[in-house]
Amino acid sequence: MVDALQRFPEMEPPAGWRTYFSFSTDHKVIGIQYLVTTFFFYMIGGFLAMLIRAELLTPASDFVDPAVYNSLFTIHATIMIFLWIIPALAGFGNYLVPLMIGARDMAFPRLNALSFWLIPPGGVLLMSSFFWGAAGAGWTSYPPLSIQDPKLGEAIWISSVAILGTSSIMAALNFFTTILKMRTKGMDLFRMPLFVWSVLVASGITLLGTPVLTGAVILLGFDLLVGTSFFNPTGGGNPVVYQHMFWFYSHPAVYIMVLPAMGMISEILPIFARKPIFGYRAIAISSISISVLGFVVWAHHMFTSGTPEWMRMFFMITSMVIAVPTGIKVFSWVATLWGGKIRFTSAMLFALGFVSLFVIGGLSGIVLASVPVNIHVHNTYFVVAHLHYVLFGGSVFAIYSGFYCWFPKMTGRLLNEFWGKIHFFLTFVGFNLCFLPMHTLGLQGMPRRVADYDPQFTNLNVIVSLGGFLLGISTLPFIVNVIWSWSKGKEAGPNPWNALSLEWATSSPPPVENFEKLPVVYAPPYWYGSTLEEVKKAALTGGRVGKHRAGN
């Protein structure tokens, strides 16, 4: 390294806090910019959730005005989806993908910086709408509700969704090109780490789905501001067309939010179980089949929208079929853990939390896919429970897991494990207190998106609210841990977890151009539990290592 620094002064790691406020084109700086910014928005979205739960502590609508309550859950969901989970995963993608495939940067560094710098204005714009009456029609923004007064908040909502969608398309384009064109020598598609696979697939979904959402909100904007009649029956339009266009993107968006999360879990489980991933190819290909199926399930969100019988049957079947590739992943993860030397680090705890909670969310998804049940529980808290098990128990747990795993790579320092575990237990307990009772509430018929409720639901709602507040508190040890460890944490060294993928083959934090020399890859990324000699031999002969077939 010393030698390299003398020869190439640009090889130093990106330094100084000012870098992070600049239009830097280094994918590592941009990745951290994404993660810090989105975490900031996560805290705001979380604060809104606390306000929602404060309102729901009592059956009466007594904490905030019902119109404000409507804005609270609308903006809460919009932030969590468009300003936290999607861009946070893009942040990990930005930081990790070039390192994992042995590239020096993304394919289009300036476009990359632009994708990031659209996010703060999009987010601030969305927040600002609270000053003039924020959108209150839910994050789905269904007309005709969304094209009533007040118009300004809704117009702001539409603009920020369009801005954030643009950012997301540009980022996806960049990932797509980077992964397909910039892999280092020997990095065949089937030697890519599974996280890279998942980012590739999620980028494909973004590229094909997001423009349709943009189209939908543009038409909505025309109806709202110009007075066209796309979604207005009095002029011959049809509000259900909006629902189709919206969910054509927004259901695949669930996979944009969960595939990269699954990808991170596929990295983290083998590292901390010290075993090769089980079913490498099966996991990679199941991502592709999820993405394809994901485009033909959208109308399961619309079973009560007057959808014809044959269409409901079709979408019920396709939705249930998604459980097959998802199940392949889950069983592969469990098989990876089987007989492994599991290290219960904070990263691993969150990863195990992901697997267990995601399974619950996935199963309630199958329940919801069934038309008769769906009609019964549509727009109840059962749906709220389901989606939080997938997006919080799933995606957010994976993001936390990713923070604990790759923070040492990003900063050169380890996060404190003791406080990491406290963070995990508070989050896990808070999460289940908050969202498990919602299943019951939903089955009992408590509707979502209403500021007051029948007094019979009070007890469970108090538990839910307390769980929600506990979730709020659970972020505090994490924030303190990150701030403290960033400057004072234990030095990590290049590879604190003895992991095998390429990002660990360079210093922590990596130099500006990532690798002194670009590595050449001879083997798949998960040959844990074998010695260097065994792997060398197997790589040369194309054979197995011990009992393990490295999936490839």
Binding site: A107, K181, T184, V241, A499, T506, E513, L518, W527
Partner: protein, 216 residues
């Protein structure tokens, strides 16, 4: 384009020397020698156009849905659309795609004058198309707000018109840049290729739009 060659003996690799585990057994690809990814801009741009296609497919699907659920289409009382000008416009646009294609051939022979010529003609044809469309807008008896037919008609043609306009800006930019010496060469001319590809895209979108709005 540089071809990279492995150098230096094995085990002292970036990976191994850092106490790396097993998968990476790496040396080779000397620093700064490996910018051999080639020009990825056309690939990225094509990806963008595929994404853009989905925007139009979404809007087309919306139109088709309105048509399929309507009892009568176009809705009763909708005046007959003028067909002659859009038909001429279609011919102009398809022809312009052939003209702009000449530029791709010209630049491969380093013929910048030929590039400018074909871009200029395409630009004028595109401008004629827009003028024809504006003339049509001005003479239609229905507006954006007169119901679903007007809404879809204006928003779809307007969206496409906006894309035509952006195409004209791109052509102007390429012509301006081609004045700079060596900006476009026989080997490297992304701007010309991309503009031409974009123009073909706009052309194909129009063909579908024409069929959907005027013919079928």
């Amino acid at each position: 384009m540089q071809q990279t060659t492995p150098n230096e003996p094995t085990s002292s690799t970036a990976a191994a020397s850092m106490g790396m585990g097993t998968t990476v057994e790496a040396e080779a690809l000397q620093h700064h020698e490996e910018h051999e990814h080639g020009d990825m801009r056309l690939f990225g741009f094509t990806t963008f156009l595929i994404s853009e296609t989905m925007l139009f497919l979404g809007l087309f699907s919306a139109l088709l849905t309105y048509r399929s659920v309507a009892l009568v289409w176009p809705p009763a009382g909708t005046p007959e659309l003028e067909k002659l000008i859009p038909a001429i416009n279609t011919v102009i646009l398809i022809a312009s795609s052939l003209v702009i294609h000449q530029a791709s051939d010209a630049i491969k022979k380093n013929n910048l004058k030929g590039v400018r010529q074909s871009f200029l003609i395409t630009l004028l044809m595109g401008a004629t198309f827009l003028a024809g469309q504006l003339w049509e807008y001005a003479h239609l008896s229905f507006g954006l707000k007169s119901g679903i037919f007007g809404s879809t008609f204006y928003v779809l043609t307007g969206f496409h018109g906006l894309h035509v306009f952006v195409g004209l800006l791109l052509m102007g930019t390429v012509m301006f840049r081609s004045m700079k010496p060596n900006h476009y060469t026989a080997e490297s001319h992304f701007g010309i290729e991309a503009t031409s590809l974009y123009w073909h895209f706009v052309d194909v979108v129009w063909i579908f739009l024409f069929l959907l709005l005027y013919v079928l």
